[in-house]
Symmetry: none
Subunit: 195 residues, 4 copies
DNA sequence: TATGAATGAGTTTTCATTCAT
DNA sequence: TATGAATGAAAACTCATTCAT
């Protein structure tokens, strides 16, 4: 149980107010990206965060870096979901739980769905380190589900990206009510069982 | 019952060279959108089409209208696919054929996947009329598949948009080889069978 | 006596109005740089030229390119001066005439003095081709003056850049009246005679 | 008639650490201006000095004042050079020594050459008091050289600024090797002898 | 007091759209 | 009519200066 800050160990700790600002900026960016996708503007992020543009640029050297941080956070959240689901006893329930909870998050948070589209290669590269963790966490659940025979053996970790992107886009395209996208997720899960 | 121009009834027929220009523009736009998505620029479209920007604006009042035309063409192509598949005897094969062929098109043509993302509401609205036709064509296949008991009864035409968007995004996210996204499409189809 | 446009042979001829605008832009830039040196702003150039900023950027991809064009023009003007002086009979008078006329130009036109300071490496590189011509023209005059024994043999073409930069800076630093910098130029020329 | 602090009479003596900071800042500024000229940034100066920006602003009310201080130091150094040369017996050697040593300093220290360009009117005005001293020191050497008949009588103190600016710019423009600018300086000195 | 985070006016640059040729 | 030059509002980014810690 290390003391703290295991997420970004290389940076020296920011002053309390600076950290608060950084959080406000990221949070504002999530909202703006959720609303406007790629068309998100730094000025809007700054205004919503209640800081000057310069402050945004003090924390992130350019737009890409800010987008990259959003991608990183999405990946981190997904990883957390996967790790939580690892504690579920039944292997299939654990795997399905990861998929369902991730979709739940994407449905609740437009930024979670749209960040991927808004992010270009540089932004994605920025998140590469944490992606490895997500990969491992997902792989664990997938292996267990494979071993219990409840997940088709020809579905691999490398298919997870496509699956989640697809579900995200589907959710984004589904008009209300919730009930509809939930149904689609279940169809997808059914398709991942053997046979 | 005039035969001609049922798709765009308000326009009088264009002169041959004007039609050729229009086609060059649309074709160029597909390529540019396929490459750059939302970031596609009118100047690039004009250059690739070999015409001046002014000519683009002669055919389309603004960028949205051009994007809308791309959306319309995608919808028209999907409709054509659905109508071709209507001639397939087996109800499930007909439905699955529509899904598979559409995915094939999306895999082969980046514009087909990305147009939806690049298009805003106005562009989508522009394609509303032809969407009705696609809706009908798809509904027919879905009804037949329902009646033959090979498609889950709780999958409806209204789910088709989400399904295809999802598959498009998944294909876009899947790195090579082709074999991978094809597998994912089969998983999805499996999930649409009863049980 | 070739038809025209011998200065920029690679570019296809611009439309008459476009060329006029280009000239207005360059001319405005000279004035602005003459007044503000490195602090010159594109907006000011556009305003003075009576065109929109976009027009400036249509003719020059960025600020450096515009500065580079100014450098190029300065070099071209100097070359013209050198070539005119080549027709002067007396070798020393020809060389001294080049120096005097160039200084006259620098005194009359602040842009001529300040462009060099405002230009960074990229801008200077842009003018490299025409520099070669200036080098040759100056070399000719210097050789003749060497041969006639009126120019110290240890002054070479490679010293010309330093000499003219120095004289430009001196002129820039000399307060009125003209008579003063003229005297300094004569001192410098005296220093270039043997002994 | 207090002896101390005749250079900056209005300031009360700084605490030792404050003076050290001030010196670190000025020294850093010289280096940064030497490298970047007008484009020098306060943040870079602060970083190089190892202090916060706020500390820079505690010592200098704004950028101009800092630049002014650099100008002042240049002038002070030149004055010191002139005063040292006053002890040289031969009048011409004294005058030429001042020019040569000043050029040596400019060649060795980019800040010494570039400060003038980077400084605007306000910065120059800041150094006005010490300029008077330099004027006097130079005038003395010039008068002696005039009287001995070794310096052209039409070269006056008021030409010194132009001369040194010119030589500084020339040195700045001369590529290696040293030998080259030294030669140019000798040419200039030759030009200042009678006839 | 020293620090460096925050500020925001001011720059450069882009690009959909208009309009003279 | 087709062209592509011109437009300028809008976006990204900078940096001297202020101010909370």
């Amino acid at each position: 149980m290390s003391t703290a800050a295991s997420t970004t160990p290389t940076e020296r700790p920011l002053r309390a107010d600076a950290r608060r600002n950084r959080e406000k900026i990221v949070s504002a960016a999530r909202q703006i990206v959720g609303e406007h996708g790629e068309a998100a503007q730094i000025d809007d992020v700054a205004r919503l965060a209640g800081v000057g543009v310069g402050t945004v640029y003090r924390h992130f050297p350019n737009k890409e870096a800010l987008m990259g941080e959003l991608v990183r956070m999405c990946v981190v959240e997904c990883t957390a979901i996967a790790e939580q689901c690892a504690s579920i006893e039944d292997p299939w329930d654990a795997f399905a739980g990861m998929v369902r909870s991730s979709c739940e998050r994407m449905a609740a948070d437009a930024a979670m769905r749209r960040t991927w589209q808004a992010a270009d290669d540089a932004a994605v590269a920025y998140a590469a380190p944490v992606k490895a963790e997500l990969h491992d966490a997902a792989e664990l659940l997938i292996r267990r589900a494979h071993e219990s025979g409840e997940l088709r053996p020809d579905f691999t970790v490398d298919d997870m990206g496509g699956l989640m992107c697809g579900l995200g886009a589907a959710i984004d395209a589904m008009p209300e009510p919730d009930e509809r996208w939930r149904r689609l997720v279940e169809f997808a899960l059914d398709g991942l069982k053997p046979h």
